[in-house]
């Protein structure tokens, strides 16, 4: 068995330590003796058929503009992948672009991939950005399980219809600072504003994603537990700092 982690626009959409998410996925598999492959995709390159985990990260405005035409051309490709249960993690700009649209302060809209039923509105520079440490409660990971991270976004995201959130805000702003939701979940695809990056300090979450990916090719394979001393120290330190535990 080999797990192919595919990093879309690794050269154009790589901010806030996104590399750490990729590293976490690869290392945690390698430490369990699972073969891994990292495929870095750029403009015009096809997403491999054997993609096991798809990652799309954050971007500065200029890079996002460069990416948009190419990304829109991949709508069907990515939609099929997700509908078939493909595992994906979409962070910050990647998360927003998976939605229906992103609306700027002047009312102009950037159309998204329309795979997540959500929309993002940026109220403009007169409104403060949603920045700071964040903790969300994540029941699907287990009882009293949390995700910790750092958020920094101007856009306020609103989930529509029956879109599930990733978790409920315990500290911080989350999707929009109002409805206490953070992130989104649809099939095996997850979107979030949490960076830090999010996977190294949330080992259970990282293993959850790995488990989903492995389940699709070798359902009987069990992920052995890692000692995770350093990971949990960072995780718990942030929980204590924000007085969650």
């Amino acid at each position: 068995m080999k797990i192919n982690v595919v990093w879309l626009y690794h050269d154009l959409m790589d901010t806030y330590g996104d590399k750490g998410n990729i590293l976490t996925l690869l290392r945690r598999l390698e430490w369990r003796g699972v073969k891994t492959e990292l495929t870095e995709i750029s403009l015009g390159e096809a997403i491999p058929k054997d993609t096991n985990i798809l990652f799309l990260g954050g971007a500065q405005d200029r890079q996002q503009r460069l990416v948009m035409p190419d990304l829109m051309g991949r709508r069907e490709e990515i939609n099929d992948y997700i509908l078939n249960g493909g595992v994906g993690l979409f962070v910050c700009a990647g998360y927003q672009l998976m939605g229906n649209f992103y609306q700027d302060a002047d009312g102009s809209r950037i159309e998204g991939l329309k795979i997540f039923d959500l929309e993002t509105i940026n109220p403009g520079i007169s409104h403060p950005r949603l920045i700071g440490n964040a903790v969300i409660k994540c029941p699907f990971l287990g009882e009293r399980e949390y995700l910790v991270g750092f958020e920094n976004h101007g856009g306020r995201t609103f989930l529509k219809g029956s879109m599930d959130c990733l978790g409920r805000v315990v500290a911080g702003f989350g999707n929009n600072g109002r409805d206490k939701t953070e992130g989104a979940r649809f099939k095996n695809a997850i979107g979030t504003y949490l960076h830090g990056p999010v996977l190294p300090k949330n080992p259970k979450f990282a293993d959850y994603l790995l488990g989903l990916a492995i389940d699709r090719i070798e359902p009987d394979f069990e992920l052995t537990s890692l000692s995770d001393i350093l990971e949990n120290r960072v995780h718990n330190e942030l929980l204590n700092k924000l007085k969650v535990r």
Binding site: D14, Y16, K19, Q60, N152, P200, I229, L230, E237
Partner: protein, 452 residues
């Protein structure tokens, strides 16, 4: 009757204007006196320098700084950019002082307007009358200072992605700078090897001279990989080609689409034989030499001073402590960190100290530590002593980079961390790589003093 009323009103008006003017003169003088008093007070309790005197002066008299800058007989130089400001500023100051000029400068990297104001107060309190000023200024405050007075030279070292939760994007900063520089007749001194910085000269209608690395002797350089910040053309947005990368996004660049390319530098670095550690200091020296020559200094003088320069507060500075010695390296972004680590790569010390804080001056979002190219660097010292408010995050990062858990020693208490490092050093000089406030704290402990 009406006539008397009008006369009365006029006299009243004149009276108020006079009082106002007198008040302003008084306040202006008072501002300077009060600020000097605060400086002397702070100095007497051992907390010299810093930004409080300047802050007080500016609050009492908004035009304090512009007046002081305007009074300098030979004008002033501003140094800005992401990395290298402090070293470049200090080196340039040293070159000018050796040449016989009295220079006012902000010494401790206090690079906001109150830091510049404090520099003038300090000079005045020491009875100095400076001929010329050289100031490092924070990237975001360059336009503010340019609004107040025109420098002779603005030197821009580089633009790196840095502290994303604080500052805007590279393009935004570059555009802001260009807008504030336009039409003022300022001489620009720019890094030819940094596409965004060079673009300021190439795309703006601004008088520019360039410094860069002599790539024809490229074989002498170590090519370190580090994430690219602005590998895209600032004119057309196309991904840039590099014939050679010196480090990160600095190198011999050109745009395959619109033809914009690295301009020819007037001052070539790369071959200076320096006491300062690090390849990146070749740039700082080249910039300082070029700026000084534009101020009329003989190049041979500038070169001699540069080659004997041993470093600044926290930038390669060595401090003795508890029978051992520490060499301080500031790092606040992936590139700076990588460069500092590459410097200590060949260090003989069996221990290295790494300190990560997340206060405002360090950047509260520390995810950049995952962008440090740790996988491409072999960290030679066996023991890594890790401290600072986000020590655990740094330890985790190093662990994922392949450093064994046994080599990672996390300390809550910085004093104990430095003692332990001394013990493990076997008399070798121990490198410390730290973010800004962690470096201040370490320096305070090592020197037994306190800095504002």
């Amino acid at each position: 009757m009406v006539f008397h009323l009008l006369t009365l009103l006029l006299l009243l008006q004149l009276f108020l204007i006079t009082v106002d003017a007198v008040e302003r003169v008084i306040i202006r003088n008072m501002a300077s006196q009060i600020a000097k008093l605060s400086y002397t007070t702070l100095k007497s309790i051992g907390r010299a320098g810093g930004t409080w005197p300047g802050e007080i002066a500016l609050r009492l008299d908004k035009s304090y700084l512009s007046n002081q800058l305007g009074k300098l007989p030979q004008g002033f130089v501003l140094v800005t950019g992401t990395n290298g400001k402090t070293t470049t500023t200090h080196l340039l100051v040293e070159i000018l002082r050796v040449s016989g000029l009295s220079v006012v400068t902000n010494s401790s990297g206090a690079n906001l307007p109150n830091g510049l104001a404090s520099a003038f107060i300090e000079a005045e309190s020491q009875g100095k009358t400076p001929d010329i000023g050289v100031f490092e200024i924070d990237e975001n405050y360059l336009p503010l200072i340019l609004d107040q007075a025109n420098p002779r030279i603005v030197l821009i070292t580089n633009i790196f992605r840095d502290q994303l939760d604080r500052f805007g994007e590279i393009e935004t900063i570059k555009n802001k700078w260009m807008k504030s520089l336009y039409g003022k007749g300022i001489q620009l001194v720019l890094n030819s090897d940094d596409p965004a910085v060079a673009a300021i000269g190439l795309l703006g209608d601004l008088d520019s001279k360039y410094f860069g690395i002599d790539f024809r002797n490229a074989l002498n350089f170590t090519n370190l990989k580090s994430p690219k910040d602005s590998g895209f053309c600032l004119r057309c947005g196309e991904k840039l080609n590099f014939k050679i990368i010196f480090y990160s996004h600095l190198g011999d660049w050109s745009c395959p689409n619109c033809g914009l390319e690295r301009p020819e530098p007037s001052e070539l670095g790369g071959e200076y034989s320096l006491l300062l550690p690090g390849n990146y200091n070749q740039y700082n020296v080249a910039g300082s030499i070029l700026a000084s020559s534009l101020l009329g200094i003989e190049r041979s003088v500038a070169l001699t001073v540069s080659e004997s320069f041993v470093g600044v507060f926290g930038r390669g500075e060595t401090i003795d402590f508890e029978g051992g010695a520490f060499e301080l390296h500031l790092a606040k972004n992936p590139t700076g960190f990588t460069q500092s680590l590459s410097e200590v790569r060949d260090a003989l010390s069996p221990v290295i100290v790494l300190l990560l804080n997340d206060k405002i001056a360090d950047g509260q979002d520390i995810s950049w530590i995952w962008d440090i190219g740790l996988e491409e660097i072999y960290i030679h010292p066996q023991h890594l002593i890790i401290g600072g408010s986000r020590a655990n995050d740094l330890a985790l990062r190093l662990f994922y980079a392949g450093i064994e858990e046994e080599r990672l020693h996390v300390f809550d208490d910085l004093h104990r961390a430095l003692i332990r490092a001394s013990q493990l050093s076997h008399g070798e000089k121990v490198p410390i790589v730290a973010t800004y406030t962690a470096m201040l704290k370490a320096r305070k402990i090592l020197l037994g003093k306190s800095l504002l």
